[in-house]
């Protein structure tokens, strides 16, 4: 005798395919969906099934968008000569929240990770190089994360962008706002000193 009805088991199996969801969490979520009114489950199912039809990748910056080009790429008030390169859509949102960047973006959709078999060809790097080559770009701001794969990807981009007449910049790295320098790690502090600003 099946303890869990097959449709419920199927839902649990599908939910465990999501990142960070184990079998226990998947069971909890599946039971929650089952306990709530059928309309809620239907609404969730409809939203999920229409997701891939309604969202696409912007052909210029590769952000997820309902339209192509996306809202940022089609905004003429933005500076299209400055491209900020980020790892993923979440990084774009973080930079947009600052309201400090008025250029456009390029999303790589990951970082170079040889252990997982992800190389430059698996990312939107070739598209970035072609974009820089074919459009009037003055500056490329590399905003990959300051992790080992993020920095290695940034270094790879810097090396490959040297062949084009563009200014290549990197996000500054240093002490966080409100942090006591006594608690900063030696590498961050060393970078903050190396990247100090001139106010005279």
């Amino acid at each position: 005798m099946d303890v869990i009805p097959p449709p419920l088991e199927q839902l649990i199996k599908e939910l465990t395919k999501l990142p960070g969801i184990g079998k226990i969490t998947a069971t909890r979520l599946a039971l929650y969906i089952l306990r709530k009114p059928a309309d809620n489950a239907l609404s969730l199912a409809e939203t999920l099934s229409s997701l891939h039809d309604s969202i696409q990748l912007c052909s210029t910056c590769f952000a997820f968008s309902e339209h192509d080009p996306c809202a940022i790429c089609s905004d003429q008030r933005r500076n299209h000569r400055v491209i900020c390169v980020v790892e993923g859509p979440g990084d774009l949102l973080a930079i947009e929240k600052t309201s400090s960047f008025h250029g456009v973006y390029h999303i790589l959709h990951g970082v170079i990770s040889p252990l997982e078999g992800i190389g430059p060809k698996e990312l939107k790097i070739k598209e970035l190089l072609e974009r820089v080559r074919d459009t009037e770009v003055e500056e490329v701001l590399i905003a990959t994360n300051l992790t080992v794969p993020g920095e290695a990807t940034g270094s790879f981009l810097i090396d490959n962008l040297q062949q084009y007449p563009v200014k290549v910049t990197r996000l500054a790295c240093g002490i966080s706002m409100g942090m006591d320098i006594k608690y900063a790690d030696q590498h961050t502090l060393a970078r903050a000193i190396a990247g100090r600003q001139n106010f005279s």
Partner: protein
């Protein structure tokens, strides 16, 4: 327990934890969970990154095989590995080889020393192919897969300069006479006498003397190519990072 370790792989886990696979002289290869590592501002900040050499405090598992990582102090971050793409891909390939050639909690202090030597060597700017060739031949030695390099693996005749040699993925060093009876589908490549001798010398050297070795670029490239095929045959699986090492100098030929 407190031990030195080198990080081989990092994976995010749940909201703020990290799963860390490391190699230590006392535990061998092991995996630990670092709770709250992604939010940590003191215990783990900038430390739990691939290739870093740490001094860690960890608790053995009560059940299962997952250690609990409670603290880490940075010994060396090998910072240049992240700023030079070729060094980065080579370091990743070295990590992949250690992950594949070792088992959990299989202690081999010489392998830890070799891994540390390889990352120091890359960090100080030594040629990636030379470091990799030396690392691979010593790794095979320490893990029990040392290929015979003084004589033909089939007829056992001692290597002599006038003979032509192949390094076959299945058997290792093979002389031309023995190879003629083998499969000749065209994917077997010769290996120069000079390369064979340099690799044989490397096998006999201790880790503390490895810095004295000088391998010409042609020999080290040839050795990496031959040893990669040999490793792939032992492991019976593809090596992910190898493709990135191979194409590191020019991954986009058409845009260059």
């Amino acid at each position: 327990m407190e031990t030195e370790s080198i990080i081989l792989r990092i994976n995010d886990y749940a909201e703020s934890d990290k799963i860390v696979t490391f190699f230590s002289p006392h535990i061998g290869r092991a995996t630990a969970i670092a709770k709250g590592a992604k939010r940590s501002k003191k215990r783990f900040v900038n430390k739990l990154e691939p290739f870093t050499h740490l001094r860690i405090n960890c608790r053995p598992p009560k059940k299962g095989s997952l250690f609990f990582l409670s603290n880490a102090d940075l010994e060396n971050a090998f910072l240049t590995l992240r700023h030079h793409y070729q060094r980065y891909t080579t370091a990743a390939f070295i990590s992949e080889l250690v992950l594949l050639f070792t088992r959990d909690h299989d202690c081999e202090p010489r392998l830890f020393e070799l891994l540390r030597w390889a990352y120091y060597s890359l960090d100080r700017g030594r040629s990636s192919s030379t470091t990799l060739a030396i690392f691979m031949i010593k790794l095979l030695q320490y893990t029990g897969y040392q290929p015979e390099l003084s004589r033909c693996a089939k007829c056992k005749t001692i290597v002599y300069p006038k003979q032509r040699y192949y390094f076959l993925p299945e058997s290792g060093l093979t002389c031309n006479s023995c190879r003629s009876g083998e499969d000749t589908t065209g994917y077997h490549f010769t290996i120069a006498i000079r390369t064979i001798r340099l690799l044989h010398t490397t096998q006999r050297m201790s880790i503390s003397h490895l810095n004295r070795l000088h391998l010409p670029k042609s020999s080290s490239m040839e050795a990496v190519f031959a040893l990669s095929r040999f490793c792939r045959n032992i492991l019976q699986q593809d090596l992910h990072a190898l493709e990135q090492v191979r194409t590191a100098s020019n991954p986009f030929p058409m845009t260059a």
